[in-house]
Amino acid sequence: MYDFALQRPQSLNEAIEALSVEGAQALAGGQTMIPTLKNRLASPDVLVSIGGISELQGVSETDGTVSIKAGTTHGVVAATVESYPALASLAGNIGDPAVRNRGTIGGSLANNDPSACYPAAALASNASITTNKRTISASDFFMGLFETSLDEGELITQVDFPVPDAANYQKFDQPASRFALVGVFVAKYGNDVRVAVTGASEDGVFRWSEAESALAGNFSSSAIDGLEVDPESMIEDIHGSRSYRANLVKVMTKRAVAAC
């Protein structure tokens, strides 16, 4: 990696201050950032580690909402969240134990990797993503591959998930990385059903609206039978064609509904 200065602020305000400098870059769990640096694909002047900020740590569950501070690791979410089992299960199947003990929810959402798991949960739950400046609805947050509506220097501080009546996440592993080749998160709130798909689209995480409509009227996997996913916008790579991913979206959606 190239040389950089490392800062370890102890408070959110110090972190925001440090990140306001030109060439500064936030470091959360580092599960994407550190490999990027090691491959010399990024060259920040200052790396601002936010791992030591206690106000960014922890999970609380009240009145049908799970609130997760941005610096909370996947491992902690998996082990502590009780009222939203599908979310805890999703966190518990990200990467391997080393990744789960370092990687954070804020880092994952801010990075918006098209194959990451958390964006599917956030979008399907219409989570509220709070930053040092504002609160953004998940529906307005994800802007395509590795793109979000975050401004320069803006830090996620907390994510609030409304707890659904029923939910399930089905992840089909990419064989090598075990990221989601396709992951489908189904969440049911009363008669409202949200289906968020990760891993599949060239535009990043998306809601499969046809499935949502079909499931709103008939919340069973058979409701999906007659639907087809358009392969056109799907990712194609050595692990699967567009058609294959389109098929997986349908299969994983059916399985998620069946498992709810």
């Binding site: 089909f172 064989p175 990385s177 050595i238 294959y244």
Partner: protein
Amino acid sequence: MSDKGIGASSKRREDVRFLSGNGKYTDDINVRGQKYVHFLRSDVAHGKINGIDTGEAASMPGVAGIFTGADFAEVGGLPCGWQVTDRFGEAMKEPAHPVLAQGKVRHVGDPIAAVVADSLEQARDAAEAIDVDMEELPAVMDMKSAVAGGTLVHDELETNLCYDWGFVEENKDAVDEAIKNAHHVTTLELVNNRLVPNAMEPRVAIGDYDASNDESTLYTTSQNPHVIRLLMGAFVLQIPEHKLRVVAPDVGGGFGSKIFHYAEEAFCTLAARKLKVPVKWTASRSEAFISDAHGRDHVTKIELALDEKGMFQAVRTDTYANMGAYLSTFSTSVPTWLHGTLMAGNYKTPLIYVNVKAVFTNTVPVDAYRGAGRPEATFQLERVIDKAARELGMDPIEIRRKNFIQKEEFPYATPVALEYDTGDYVATMDKLQEIADLDGFEARASESRQKGLLRGLGINCYIEACGIAPSNLVGMLGARAGLYESATVRVNATGSITVMTGCHSHGQSHETTFPQVIADMIGISEDQVHIQHGDTSNTPMGMGTYGSRSIAVGGAAMVRATEKIIAKAKKIAAHLMEASAEDIELKDGSFSVVGTDKSVGWGDVCLTAYVPHNYPLDQLEPGLEETAFYDPANFTYPAGAYACEVEVDPETGKVDICSFAATDDFGNVINPMVVDGQVHGGIAQGVGQALREHAVYNEDGQLVSGTFMDYSMPRADDLPSFVVDHSCQTPCTHNPLGVKGCGEAGAIGSPPAVVNAVLDALNKGGYNVSHIDMPLSPSRVWSAING
């Protein structure tokens, strides 16, 4: 089963240091004052270097030296160790293989320049400042079109064809005729997928130079330090053996990829001499992907002719074998003598013809990888047999059984030049059917169906030629080296023993199993025996460890040296007991005079050898140390039968391995636990090839699966608990231990079992699919199901 010596599952003594973090690997070695090297590697597959400007880089902080091809123009290229002669009697095409690129780069990863600096990061910084004027050329990727013409990987060769090999050429017409007139011919076209070896420990090289004595030392991650000393000293750098020491300390896995002499070894050795400082290189994992020799990469068409009863009449096979951009050390022998000679398998096929076209492409060189040629032979043969059985409506086990070479027919000469000394293929198949509970398959398949899954059973056999190899034979076939092995057995004054072997252990457990043999022969405890290996300065010249040869060849050398020790010790004992040496018997560490109660202990005899006060000095030298070189009379022929059961999810194409059973005939077994471990590891790698691993190049010559994010290694939770058995033992008839070798069997035998199982599942599930190329990834299986 014994609890000590040969046949005991003695615990691996090397694990004490490995599992406690005390292994000493090459990267753990740091020589005082060492500098670090970073190689500037080509990021294009094929290009002409019009100029290299190192001016700015040379002035950067910490830089001690920058080297380009010009600095290596006067030294030799990396040699190829095996000359193949083609069908027409012509020698193979053998291009130069420079240490650093000479005017042209030929694969992504080809080293263009090297920077030596105080720190690795400084070396990387400087490498980025080197300006290479590169004219990109079209990449030669597809083997068949490469042979047809067009862009040349090596302009001076005027062809991309390394050789066109036919075997046995005299059989060709008869094979063609038999196939033309056969009752039934099954044809299968397949790809044996290219693999990246991915040993846990990446390669490392440290060059050190002592100018006062003009002595060079190379510390390197090698399976055969003596071979590296010979190749690098004699052919590349012209350093005589007595001025060159090569040390391969603990090595974290090789699988073939650490047999070969690599450019980085020669570079570090020469740079240390030029700069007069130690020079260290440690490969990153990304670098390993584009600089370690890859494995496999064959494109094959095989035809099997059968009569109306399903008896094999003839086999004809045509293979394009990828050599990559240069000839790695043993690359040329893999698709020929380690592949064509195995095409008889376990069967009495009377007529066989093998054609192999070896082709240069703009890819990383391809060489031996666990099994080396034998997995490629086994895969195509066992796949085409399965396909034939399906076409003829025969049971896949029965078609194999009726074509087996029978126990009483050994020694058996195949039509492809090998003479199998011994085997019992019926017994191994009987055992397989028992341990795999094949009778219970239908019930298990029914349970799978209830879950919406398709269950399949894959069966195959394999044979391999191991214990490589008789030197005079391989010399006739083009090997430029002997393939004997050596051992020095040094008995210390108080009776403990140090064995110096030319073999090298990098996972094979020599430190545990070799002492078991000596302990058995002498009757002392295993902990009295220490194995020393890996350093050319204190071990006899040996050819190293690969081809499942260590126990069969190196172990045999150790037995021969120990026999000399025992013969001499008996003379000493005879002197002490005033008897004749012929009357001395050695048992349980004690020498006795037959028919008397006189005895003298092993320790007393050893001490007498080194304190020869009461000693026949007029007839016998003092001391007790002997060396033996052993050159095998034949290959050994481990063989076995494997069974794999899978569940296929037809909606996603995902394959789960439910069970895997292996019966192997390794002849006599020294340590059953170690053999189990070797088979387990081999099966894991074979399953990896069958379902996951694939070095994928795009048409521009970029390695698309160049990291573990895209190159899928098998993990523990991808695999079931294996059921392995090696109780069917037909001991090798020509080596003193009756052993055959077990290191490669699992990797050779398992890929066809997995693929046969998946195809069985699909066909039983109503999907008419005759073949899927490895790796059988979910998307490939789903695509096959969905046409």
